[in-house]
């Protein structure tokens, strides 16, 4: 099931902490649970039979409660923690058996990590910190300082290059942490609760920054979080972990609509739906009254609808018209329909997040039309529909 788009895929990965991993693995094969193994042997199962693939250029979020094995998981990927069993393939090559030199190469070129605690070096200036990865790889001073300065500018810290970490705020320190990882220009960025130590405002800002950086550079990001709002905001796909096991993987919407079990469902309970759904997911095609005009009116409006949406042959929206007080002949005549259209109408893009569209929908007299990226009409969102969606 490997896809050429997969940049990293792991299969049946286990991690047992303790001095008798073999015993624990045997017990796992015999069907013992994590708790039983801990009771009997004192071994902790950190990750249990994990398999998933990460696609090139996506933000893959791993989510779960505290102790569910997220940090262990992400450290298995660059082998800061050695897997007990399983394979980890980077660009189709198994890295579990790599020798020291090759492993260092992977860490220097392919994967960089951002830490929850920032983990900056206090004895180095911001610039030296940002250049740390390149220094370790033996890049000469001018070159690495130039690239570090560029990375610092990307995260908006160009002016602080000669400061020291303790002179910066938490948010700025984490930007340095991010710059340090970006300087290496890694294929994959690993971020372990990188924003959890920041206050909500800075955190929101950093999330935005990350999304921007990812769009500019098409980097693959594996992001650990225990915050669903964060996961939903930045994640293309989310993997939910529980007790060392990956329970479900999918887009935020898939997880919300079809949770695999109660654990996943509880996660999504109380989450703000408008942050997950896009306008296009909600828009409804038949609640509005579409009138196709193609020389003549091909589908005259039904009775009872108050507004009509005029579409041309290629489904492009030509106008919105109030049907109140229009007689049947007027309704059948394309010219008169077009002539009586509203001067202007609002519309929303189907890829807009619902939360950004709420205000437009609420303030409008007519159901707001939703337009696809290519300009075709997708449907409308009425106030009723909006309320129903939000209250689920």
């Amino acid at each position: 099931m490997t896809d050429s788009n997969d940049i990293l895929s792991i299969r049946n990965v286990y991690k047992v902490f303790g001095d008798q991993p073999d015993t624990a693995m045997q017990m796992l094969r015999d069907g013992s649970t994590k708790e039983e193994i801990f009771e009997e042997t004192g071994q902790t199962v950190g990750v249990f039979d994990a398999s998933f693939s990460v696609k090139k250029g996506e933000i893959f979020v791993i989510m779960g409660l505290s102790g569910s094995g997220k940090s262990t998981m992400v450290r298995l990927l660059n082998r800061l923690i050695e897997p007990t069993a399983g394979t980890i393939e980077l660009k189709g090559k198994d890295i579990t058996g790599l020798g020291d030199a090759d492993l260092l190469d992977v860490r220097r070129k392919e994967m960089s990590m951002v830490f929850q605690s920032f983990a900056l070096m206090p004895h180095m200036s911001v610039l030296e910190n940002a250049a740390f990865g390149l220094e370790i790889s033996g890049v000469d001073k001018d070159e690495r300082n130039k690239r570090a300065q560029e990375a610092l500018e990307q995260v908006g810290l160009g002016e602080h290059s000669s400061s020291y970490p303790h002179q910066l705020s938490g948010g700025m320190q984490q930007r340095v942490g991010l710059a340090r990882a970006l300087t290496n220009d890694p294929t994959i960025l690993l971020m372990d609760e990188a924003f959890s130590a920041l206050d909500p405002l800075i955190r929101y800002e950093m999330q935005g920054e990350l999304i921007r950086l990812q769009q500019e550079q098409e980097r693959t990001i594996i992001f650990i979080s225990h915050d669903l709002d964060e996961a939903v905001r930045i994640g293309d796909r989310i993997a939910i972990m529980e007790g060392g096991r990956v329970v479900q993987i999918g887009t935020p919407e898939e997880l919300m609509r079809n949770p695999a079990d109660d654990y996943v469902e509880t996660f999504f309970k109380g989450v703000d739906v408008s942050k997950i759904l896009k306008a296009g997911d909600v828009a409804c095609a038949n609640s509005g009254c579409t009138i196709r005009i193609n020389g003549s009116v091909q589908s005259p409006p039904t009775n009872g609808s108050q507004f009509g949406y005029l579409l041309d042959n290629s489904d492009k929206l030509q106008g919105v018209i109030s049907l109140k007080g229009l007689d049947a002949t007027a309704k059948a005549n394309p010219e008169s329909l077009l002539a009586q259209c509203m001067d202007s109408h609002e519309s929303i893009n189907s890829s807009d997040m619902l939360q950004d569209a709420v205000k437009t929908i609420a303030n409008s007299d007519y159901p707001i039309p939703v337009i696809e990226d290519n300009g075709t009409f997708k449907g409308v969102i009425t106030k009723d529909l909006l309320l129903q969606t939000l209250s689920r």
Binding site: L80, R107, R108, M113, F115, S117, M121, H123, I136, H166
Partner: protein, 311 residues
């Protein structure tokens, strides 16, 4: 009185430890003369060089130089303090003896650093080495100096070189311990970050562990210096020169004046060295953000030079 008694079995059971030690020593003296001479050699060299330099510097130059050093390391007040302490040393007439003591102390410090820091690093890296090293350090610190003074004399003779040797034995442990501690205390997240960016063990040591452990290691250097100074007095019993000798002679002749002058000299020297190394430790602290060439007299000259250039 010679009735056999179970209650006191040690009338008949004993371990002739003392005799053994003595015969081992005899054996060593007779068969390993070359080896002990080889140990003497590097100490002799370093001692000669340092004493030669220190004794040849005229007192005034010495005072000016060390106060500039103090200023550079910890600001003008420190510079003034150094000048006053050293001036006082000269004033009470013990300049030459102080320089002898200083060269002994610096030589022992040199060897302590050369031996102690690597040993500390090794024991920080391996729990097994730490387990072996630890009791040895305990013994070195707690064994009364008089116990090893005699064998050292038997093996190395008397004079400054064996004096430095016993000083090293006594002053080495804190440096090893604090180097070990300093490296072990480097926060785990920094180590992890360094690993994640692909550090080799060597890069880890020189780029992360040692820099972060420097303040602790400097505390060890400070302790080693202080212990060396206190050992110098005891070492004077095997005819080591300097301030210790003055104190010993003073006590021997009940000449309280001589003993007090020597003692005061030692105290002044101790304060001088203590403050200076402490200042060095603080400098190595990470919150210090100025470069060394931006502060002190060097900074002063650099600034005036740049100012002159700008005009």
């Amino acid at each position: 009185m010679s009735e056999f008694s179970l209650l006191d079995p040690f009338q008949y059971l004993n371990l002739p430890l003392g005799e053994w030690v003595e015969s081992i020593l005899q054996y060593l003296v007779q068969n390993f003369r070359g080896f002990f001479r080889a140990i003497r050699w590097p100490i002799d060299q370093v001692l000669d060089i340092s004493e030669g330099i220190l004794q040849s510097i005229p007192p005034l130059i010495g005072i000016i130089f060390s106060s500039l050093l103090g200023w550079q390391l910890a600001g003008k007040r420190m510079g003034l303090f150094c000048a006053v302490t050293l001036f006082f040393l000269g004033l009470i007439g013990v300049w030459s003896e102080s320089m002898t003591t200083l060269s002994l102390v610096l030589t022992s410090l040199f060897f302590c650093v050369v031996l102690g820091v690597p040993l500390g690093i090794l024991s920080a890296r391996s729990d097994r080495i730490e387990k072996i090293v630890r009791p040895v350090l305990d013994a070195m610190q707690t064994l009364p100096a008089f116990v090893y003074l005699v064998p050292v004399v038997m093996l190395f003779g008397i004079g400054n070189v064996p004096g430095v040797l016993v000083t090293i034995v006594f002053a080495l442990p804190p440096l090893v311990r604090l180097t070990n501690l300093g490296i072990r205390q480097v926060p785990a997240d920094k180590i992890e970050a360094a690993r994640a960016f692909g550090c080799t063990p060597r890069q880890m040591l020189f780029r992360v562990q040692l820099p972060l452990a420097t303040p602790t290691i400097m505390a060890g250097v400070n302790q080693t210096l202080m212990l060396s100074l206190s050992m110098v007095v005891i070492a004077s019993m095997i005819s080591v020169g300097g301030l210790g000798q003055m104190v010993l002679r003073g006590i021997g002749r009940l000449d309280m004046g001589l003993a007090t002058v020597g003692g005061l000299g030692l105290v002044l020297l101790a304060i001088f060295l203590d403050r200076l190394t402490q200042a060095m430790g603080e400098r190595s602290d990470s919150s210090n953000t100025l470069h060394w060439y931006e502060t002190g007299p060097v900074g002063f000259f650099v600034r005036t030079f740049r100012g002159a250039q700008a005009k």
